[in-house]
C-alpha cells in the first residue's frame, strides 16, 4: 500500500473533522433567529433594523464554519500534502 494512499485516506478523515466546526454557527445563528423573531414581534416598526442586525451578526458567526469548509475543500481538491511526499 502506497504512501499516497495513506495521506489521501487521512485527508478524507481530516475533511470530515473540519466540517464539525459548523456546529457553532448553526447554534449561534439559530439563537439569533429566535431573538430576531422575538424582537420583531415586540417592535414591528423596527423590523428593518432588527433583521439587518441579526443578519450582520450571523454573517460574522458564519466565518469559522467557512474556514472549516475551506480547509476541507483544500484537502479534497487541492491537496498540498501529496506534493510533499518524497
Amino acid at each position: 500500500m502506497s504512501d499516497q494512499a495513506l495521506v489521501l485516506a487521512a485527508s478524507a478523515i481530516g475533511a470530515g473533522l473540519a466540517m464539525i466546526a459548523g456546529i457553532g454557527a448553526g447554534i449561534g445563528q439559530g439563537f439569533a433567529a429566535g431573538k430576531g423573531a422575538e424582537a420583531v414581534g415586540k417592535q414591528p416598526d423596527a423590523q428593518g433594523l432588527i433583521v439587518r442586525t441579526m443578519l450582520l451578526g450571523a454573517a460574522v458567526a458564519e466565518t469559522t464554519g467557512i474556514y472549516g469548509l475551506v480547509v476541507a475543500l483544500i484537502l479534497l481538491f487541492a491537496n498540498p500534502l501529496l506534493g510533499l511526499l518524497g
Partner: protein, 185 residues
C-alpha cells in the same frame, strides 16, 4: 491476515510500511481537521452576540450605532481562537516544520496530531467571549452613557477568557517548532 496474532503489533507494523514523511503528512491532514473544530466556539458566541444585538436594536433604536459597534468589537475578539486554529491548520498543510525532520516517523506524526488536538481548546474562549460580547451589547443598548466602562470590563473579561486558548496555541507551536520529544529519542 492469518498471521495477525497481536492487534497492536499488527497496527504498528502496518504503519511502518509507510515512509516517515507519509506518516507526518497523513497526521497533518487529520490535525488540520481537528484544529478547525475550535470554530464551534466563535460560531456559538458570535451568534449569541448577534441575537442580543437584534434584540437591543429593537428595544433601543436610537442607540443602534453603539449597539452595532459593541457587537462587532466583541465578536471580533471572539474570532481569535478560530483564527489561531486556521493558522495552525495552514501551517501543518503548507509549511509543516516536521516534514523531513530526522526522527522516528511515529513521534513526528503524533506530535502533529497532538498540535491539532490542543487547538480544540479554542472552543471555550470562542463561546465565552461571544457571550460577553452579547451581554456588553445588551447593556450598551440600555445605558449608552456607560459604554466606555461596559466595553472596558467586557474586554478585560474576554482577555482573561482567552488564556487557555493561548496555552493551547503555545503547546501546539512547541510540538511543531520546538519539539522537545525529538531530543529524548
Amino acid at each position: 491476515m492469518e498471521s495477525l496474532v497481536n492487534i497492536i503489533t499488527f497496527m504498528l507494523e502496518w504503519l511502518q510500511q509507510f515512509s516517515a514523511t507519509a506518516l507526518v503528512l497523513a497526521a497533518s491532514a487529520i490535525a488540520a481537521g481537528l484544529a478547525m473544530i475550535a470554530g464551534i466556539g466563535p460560531g456559538v458566541g458570535q451568534g449569541f452576540a448577534a441575537g442580543k444585538g437584534a434584540e437591543a436594536v429593537g428595544d433601543y433604536k436610537e442607540n443602534n450605532n453603539n449597539i452595532t459597534f459593541v457587537m462587532l468589537l466583541g465578536a471580533a475578539v471572539a474570532e481569535t481562537s478560530g483564527i489561531f486554529s486556521l493558522v495552525v491548520a495552514l501551517i501543518v498543510l503548507y509549511a509543516n516544520p516536521l516534514v523531513g525532520v530526522e526522527g522516528t516517523g511515529i513521534v513526528l506524526a503524533a506530535s502533529v496530531l497532538g498540535a491539532g488536538l490542543a487547538m480544540i481548546a479554542g472552543v471555550g474562549p470562542g463561546i465565552g467571549q461571544g457571550y460577553a460580547a452579547g451581554k456588553g451589547t445588551e447593556r450598551v443598548g440600555q445605558r449608552p452613557k456607560y459604554q466606555g466602562l461596559v466595553v472596558k470590563v467586557m474586554l478585560l473579561g474576554q482577555a482573561v477568557g482567552q488564556t487557555t486558548g493561548i496555552y493551547a496555541l503555545v503547546v501546539a507551536l512547541i510540538l511543531l517548532f520546538a519539539n522537545p520529544l525529538l531530543n529524548l529519542l
